[in-house]
């Protein structure tokens, strides 16, 4: 009976503007439905740096985004490798 982590982040495609801000995101789901949804505005942004003193450092830049269809989603950019992830915060 191994505990399973919940709320694991999911890798998503994100289009960014020249300033590096997310412009449109593709939400997790079946591949054929991953149409990019434009971002209306960035509601909130925060950064988390954890474990920088240890072997597995973690550095994330979180965004809470308001999408064109009215949804509110939380995504983050992994500052180590530049990938984008969706996650409930």
């Amino acid at each position: 009976m191994t505990p399973r982590p919940v709320n694991v982040p999911v890798c998503i495609p994100v289009q960014v503007d020249p300033a590096g801000q997310p412009r449109a995101i593709g939400l997790p789901g079946p591949r054929d439905r991953r149409q990019p949804i434009p971002v209306t505005r960035v509601a909130e942004r925060w950064r988390i740096d954890e474990g920088w003193w240890g072997p597995n450092p973690l550095s994330r830049l979180y965004y809470r985004l308001v999408l064109a269809d009215g949804r509110l989603v939380t995504v983050y950019r992994d500052l180590d490798d530049g990938t984008w992830w969706a996650q409930r915060s």
């Binding site: 009976m1 505990p3 399973r4 982590p5 919940v6 709320n7 694991v8 982040p9 988390i48 954890e50 973690l58 996650q87 409930r88 915060s89």
Partner: protein
């Protein structure tokens, strides 16, 4: 005769906390000693030698030590004082039927009903004084009212009459009340300290001066307290109100090594509960209330009073009620003694169970859920139902906060 005129007795152990400490440490007799208050850094009880050096009750300890450098300051042990006081009250109840507790080390007793049981008043006085250990140096005052008896007890050692059997007994008959009360200082009155301070401010230092004051002025100045004082000065008799007699069963366990962990306290409590339920006086009876007390090495006490929904005497039922109180308790330190007392004992009249088991909604829900899980497991080969458990709920990383555990 005692019974005719002076029918109320007052047994007093002056400066009770200090008397208890000095009884345990007789080498401190005659030295400036004080007992610190358990809740504040102030003097609770001071010896005559300390008072002579300017130490007074309620004074800050730092100031007291400044005034009297050789002052010995002792930590208060309220649990010990309460136990000694309870033992005195129990002993008094074996001598006289009506005993009214009036604070630590003070009790009023009704003597009229027992005076004939003794050959002489001196025999009765000796029996009453014998209720308190002699090392506490108790005093007995006997008078027609509680007020006079209380004052007589405080004055006993000072003005012991030659005809008294012991110098620590003072008997005041009705005829000599006025002469006795007049020179008594107002500080001996059973009123608030603020009232005494105000009386002294206007130059009234003795009860005689106070008695000469117009009654309406006293009431106008001090309100209801003045009215009560006026009634006392006029000789109004307040009856002795005996404490309610309630049968209790108590068991305790002392530990040579104080218990530090909650698990060991819980285990010890289980053992004490088992012992108290095996007590001969408990057999065939049910209890309405449980009192659990824990005492530390320093004499500090924790107490919890648990009232049961149904009077009962079964170990498991009582433990279910008692255990949460102990688990939540913030104990004042390592526990050196644990006691459990059963109160409200009455004969057991049996317990009317249910003829038909009731259909419990939550039990039904649980049964349905288990059946659903069983079917899921049969179909998919593994449990698909999980339970969320907190891992690091405070973590800033969302996926580290909770985990899912399969529900068996």
């Amino acid at each position: 005769m005692v019974a005719r005129c002076a029918s109320i007795g007052c047994l007093v152990v002056p400066r009770f906390p200090l008397a208890c400490e000095l009884a345990d440490r007789p080498e401190l007799w005659g030295r400036p000693v004080t007992v610190a208050h358990p809740d504040a850094p102030v003097v609770w009880s001071a010896s005559p030698a300390a008072v002579a050096e300017g130490v007074i009750e309620g004074q800050r300890l730092s100031e007291a030590m400044g005034r009297c450098p050789p002052l010995v300051v002792l930590d208060a042990r309220p649990a010990r004082y309460e136990a000694r006081d309870a033992a005195i009250l129990d002993a008094l109840e074996r001598v006289v039927p009506g005993v009214e507790p009036a604070g630590l080390g003070t009790a009023y007793v009704e003597l009229a009903s027992v005076a004939r049981c003794y050959r002489s008043p001196e025999g009765l006085h000796a029996a009453l004084l014998g209720c308190a250990p002699s090392e506490l140096r108790p005093r007995l005052g006997v008078g027609p009212t509680k007020f006079v008896a209380g004052l007589a007890a405080l004055q006993a050692a000072v003005q012991g009459q030659p005809r008294d059997a012991a110098p620590n007994v003072r008997v005041v008959d009705q005829a000599e009340v006025a002469a006795f009360v007049t020179p008594v200082p107002v500080t001996a009155l059973p009123v608030e300290a603020e009232m005494i301070r105000r009386l002294r401010l206007v130059g009234i230092t003795t009860v005689g001066q106070l008695a000469a004051m117009p009654r309406h002025a006293l009431v106008a100045q001090f309100g209801p307290q003045g009215k009560r004082l006026m009634a006392l000065l006029d000789g109004a008799a307040e009856p002795v109100r005996p404490r309610p007699r309630e049968e209790r069963v108590r068991e305790r366990l002392a530990f040579p090594e104080p218990l530090t962990s909650r698990e060991s306290v819980l285990a010890a409590a289980r053992q004490v509960l088992r012992r108290v339920l095996r007590h001969p006086r408990q057999r065939g009876r049910v209890a309405r209330q449980l009192v659990v007390r824990a005492e530390t090495e320093q004499g500090k006490r924790w107490e919890s009073n648990v009232t049961l929904r149904h009077a009962r005497c079964d170990h498991e039922g009582l433990w279910v009620t008692l255990a949460p109180a102990l688990e939540r308790a913030s104990l004042p330190g390592p526990v050196s003694e644990l006691s459990i007392e059963l109160r409200g004992l009455r004969p057991s009249r049996g317990w009317q169970g249910e003829l038909l088991p009731t259909r419990n909604a939550s039990t039904e829900r649980r049964g349905g859920r288990q059946e659903g899980m069983r079917q899921l497991q049969a179909r998919y080969g593994r449990s698909l139902v999980g339970r969320m458990v907190p891992v690091e709920p405070w973590s800033r990383i969302p996926e580290r906060r909770w985990a899912l555990v399969e529900l068996e």
